[in-house]
């Protein structure tokens, strides 16, 4: 029987190629100056869900909180083959993962039965890496973090390949369960998540995205659920490194470098 999978997807700031600082003079994020992207590990989570769907059939539902800034992550899910999407109509700004998890858990409950919830672990250098844990608690389901691949699915259970220091563990969890996905696509090829499907994109570009209000999700005042708040944000001064180019063709330059390095200069 086809299982039901929910994927939680987020639109996040893209600070990779940002020149200039993330923060303005007042220590707030310069929203106007930054681009956003589909959280890469959420994209991996979606890919994992769609692979399960390809292999054995599944109903895949994507859920996001808040309005789109520039990348409509829910529509991107539809373009790739998600069956359903749900937007939680709340502004995620100022909410911590505890509050977000309450909203999402409510939306999942409303969306119907669910066997597996997938969410990106998110590399700790980005935001939000607690969402999976909080969501599992809010749903009251077992969870596995740092999952790189879903090894087996069903009946009634999944086996997750979880990254740990020095290797992997294979963890079995009964449905319903939540998996926080990591880099996920470790196979040699393809390393990248799938692109959109053109016909589907044509069909879905105007598809209606249903919105669930915070009240309907059972958290009318999500701000009241916030446990952790930001006190200050400060720019980290870029490390100034005295760096020099060494010409690989020149033995003298290489020798000079080795001498300097080994002498501890």
């Amino acid at each position: 029987m086809a299982i039901n999978i929910v994927v939680v997807v987020r639109e996040v700031w893209d600070t990779r190629d940002l020149s200039g600082s993330v923060l303005d003079g007042a220590g707030a994020v310069r929203a106007g100056a930054m681009e956003t992207r589909f959280e890469p590990e959420d994209l991996n989570a979606l890919e994992a869900a769609l692979r399960i769907k390809d292999a054995q059939g599944a109903q895949v539902t994507a859920i996001a909180v808040g309005e789109t800034r520039s990348v409509d992550v829910l529509r991107e899910c539809l373009y790739r083959g998600a069956d359903k999407v749900v937007r939680v109509g709340a502004d995620p700004a100022g909410l911590d993962d505890q509050a977000l998890a309450a909203l999402i858990a409510g939306a999942i409950a409303k969306a119907g039965p669910c066997d597996l919830v997938l969410v990106g672990t998110a590399v700790p250098d980005a935001e939000n890496s607690l969402l999976g844990r909080h969501l599992a608690a809010a749903l009251g389901v077992p969870a596995v973090s740092w999952v790189d691949a879903v090894e087996e699915v069903g009946p009634g259970r999944a086996v997750a390949k979880r990254a740990v220091e020095m290797g992997y563990e294979f963890v079995e969890v009964p449905f319903p369960a939540l998996l926080s996905m990591g880099v996920a696509l470790l196979e040699d090829d393809p390393r990248a998540p799938r692109p959109a499907k053109a016909m589907l994109k044509l069909k879905m570009k105007k598809a209606e995205v249903p919105v669930v209000s915070p009240a309907d999700a059972g958290a009318a005042d999500p701000a009241a659920l916030v446990a952790m708040k930001v006190a200050t944000m400060e720019a980290i001064a870029p490390r100034v490194i005295e760096s020099q180019q060494v010409d690989p063709e020149s033995e003298a330059a290489l020798k000079g470098m080795l001498d300097a390095v080994l002498k501890g200069e």
């Binding site: 390393r191 692109p195 959109a196 053109a198 016909m199 994109k201 069909k203 180019q245």
Partner: protein
């Protein structure tokens, strides 16, 4: 993550700012129709550009490009008549099918996307930048499907087009034979006759029987093969008039005898196939195989090859720019040396000039197709005339420019460029086929020169010449082009009463003059919309005068010589 569409600023600019989508869409879509998926031209345009970003640009950069080296290394094999693709190529094909991109121009009613040629051309460029050889599946599909859609019966369309849309079926076109290359009127493959050639259909199935060998057939192991074959009695209807066009489905009677071992595009099997009394469907009317259907197919395919070359040129250009920045000699990056800097600037300039011509041509092809579909007689005739002239010119220009860019890019790589470790080595080999197949550059020039002398694109050029630039700098540059244009016109007038053989002799000079001037006009128009293009146009036009003068002098002084000691 890289994206071969959005990262290619020039292509994105042309798609977003230069293409006249309103005109194309006015011809190709009926907004408000239940069947039309767009509310208006703006939405349609946005959809096209979005599709070029994802899936096309995403797929090309993140899945196809990383596999190119492996596919080139392993290549295709042929064992017992079975063509075996490298695994990475199979993945590419699956990815293209999964992304639902195999039927980009096929009508929606047959499961395709029904996109304009311009979008398809851009997609071919992007895919070819990642792996030129893959284009021979992705870019061949369109021309073949479009030919079926244009000329085959409704039953055949229903039988084949849906499966070509999904990519379940790929196509091939079987024209060339050992003794019929550039000269296709010499085709020998026979369509059923017993003794002599008394063409007749099978009275029961309505099918024809084809026998004979075809050589150099790209993807000859494909599922749907369009075949040019002799159906008429040579005594009554010889040469090209005796040829008809057929559709053959892959089966036991289509034998792949071998595949070629070749310089480049290793990911594209080039097959020798033998039709062993093979059943075939006739497409269109008898005797029109070469003049109408092959000509039509070739026109579509030539645009595709132009886009393939353009993609390779872009890849080679980027490799050169990257290498010249990283490689240091005499204590600085080599791009800081005047000669290398000039080469890089010329490469980029030429690449953008070729792209300008390519998409101006694709736009005309779209307008022509649209006018034909809408039954607009005058427009069909006008756009058809222009498209038939510009397509061979665009194919000639993009493929020759791409060869030049790969040559220069390899040069910039120095000794490393000669080594297999660097992608330019593959690009240099792959680009070499582009100005040979689908008609060699010489054949394109022959087509072009007769039409240029006849004045088939005069109205286009006059329109460009009369454009009024508000900006003084651009107006001044336009003045420079107009001087060259006068010079070109005088040569064309002088050629009017010359023999065909002489016109063909000076064909390269005339075509070069024309395309240089045409590209200069286009670049100048682009400069109205993007500040950066002023520099490109200015550099191009600075070189234009001397080049046109040289070509004029060479043409005026040309002579037939055969040199042998």
């Amino acid at each position: 993550m890289p994206n071969y569409y959005t990262d290619n600023k020039d292509l994105a600019f042309i798609m977003d700012q230069v293409m006249d989508w309103n005109a194309i869409l006015a011809m190709k879509e009926t907004f408000g129709d239940a069947e039309c998926p767009y509310a208006d031209a703006e939405e349609a345009k946005a959809t096209f550009l979005e599709m070029l970003r994802d899936p096309v640009g995403e797929l090309a950069a993140n899945r196809i490009a990383p596999r190119a080296e492996e596919i080139d290394d392993i290549g295709c094999k042929c064992e017992n008549g079975q063509v075996i693709f490298p695994e990475a190529l199979q993945r590419n094909l699956k990815d293209l099918c999964d992304a639902q991109l195999m039927g980009m121009t096929i009508p929606r009613r047959f499961g395709g996307l029904q996109f304009p040629e311009t979008v398809y051309t851009a997609a071919i460029e992007v895919v070819s930048q990642a792996d030129a050889s893959l284009m021979n599946f992705f870019g061949l599909q369109g021309g073949i499907a479009e030919t079926i859609n244009e000329f085959a019966t409704e039953e055949l369309k229903e039988q084949y087009l849906p499966r070509m849309s999904t990519g379940e079926f790929t196509g091939a076109m079987a024209l060339t034979e050992p003794d019929a290359g550039s000269d296709l009127a010499a085709v020998q493959t026979r369509a059923k006759g017993g003794e002599g050639i008394t063409a007749q259909q099978d009275p029961v199935t309505g099918m024809w029987i084809i026998s004979g060998a075809k050589r150099f057939i790209t993807n000859g192991c494909g599922d749907v093969i369009l075949v040019l074959a002799r159906s008429e009695d040579p005594a009554k209807k010889g040469g090209g008039r005796g040829l008809s066009f057929f559709l053959v489905e892959k089966g036991p009677k289509v034998k792949v005898r071998r595949i070629e071992h070749k310089l480049g595009i290793h990911g594209s099997p080039t097959c020798e196939i033998y039709f062993d009394e093979c059943p075939a469907y006739l497409i269109g009317s008898r005797g029109m195989g070469l003049a109408r259907y092959t000509a039509w197919l070739m026109l579509a395919a030539r645009l595709a090859i132009g886009a393939q070359a353009q993609g390779i040129a872009q890849a080679a250009l980027e490799e050169a720019e990257k290498y010249a920045k990283e490689r240091e000699q005499f204590g600085k990056p080599i791009r800081d040396f005047p000669q290398v800097a000039a080469m890089l600037a010329d490469m980029r300039m030429r690449c953008e000039a070729a792209r300008a011509v390519l998409y101006a041509t694709s736009e005309i092809v779209d307008l022509h197709q649209g006018a034909e579909a809408k039954g607009l007689k005058d427009e069909t005739r006008r756009y058809g005339r222009i498209a038939e002239s510009l397509t061979p010119i665009a194919k000639y220009y993009t493929t020759e420019v791409a060869n030049r860019i790969c040559y220069d890019s390899l040069q910039i790589h120095g000794g490393n460029g000669f080594m297999q470790e660097y992608p330019i080595e593959r690009l240099y080999r792959d680009v070499r086929i582009t100005n040979i197949y689908e008609g060699t550059s010489q054949i394109q020039v022959n087509w072009a020169v007769s039409r240029l002398v006849r004045g088939d694109v005069d109205d286009v050029m006059d329109g460009l010449a009369k454009h009024v630039f508000a900006d003084a700098d651009l107006a001044r540059l336009q003045g420079e082009i107009l001087k060259a244009f006068e010079s070109y016109k005088s040569v064309v007038a002088w050629l009017k009463d010359k023999e065909v053989a002489f016109r063909e002799l000076v064909g390269p000079n005339v075509t070069d003059m024309f395309v240089d001037i045409y590209a200069a006009f286009l670049l100048l128009r682009h400069a109205e919309k993007w500040e950066y293009k002023r520099k490109v146009a200015a550099r191009f036009i600075r070189q234009l005068g001397p080049r046109v003068a040289m070509n004029r002098d060479l043409a005026l002084n040309a002579q037939f010589d055969t040199l042998a000691p």
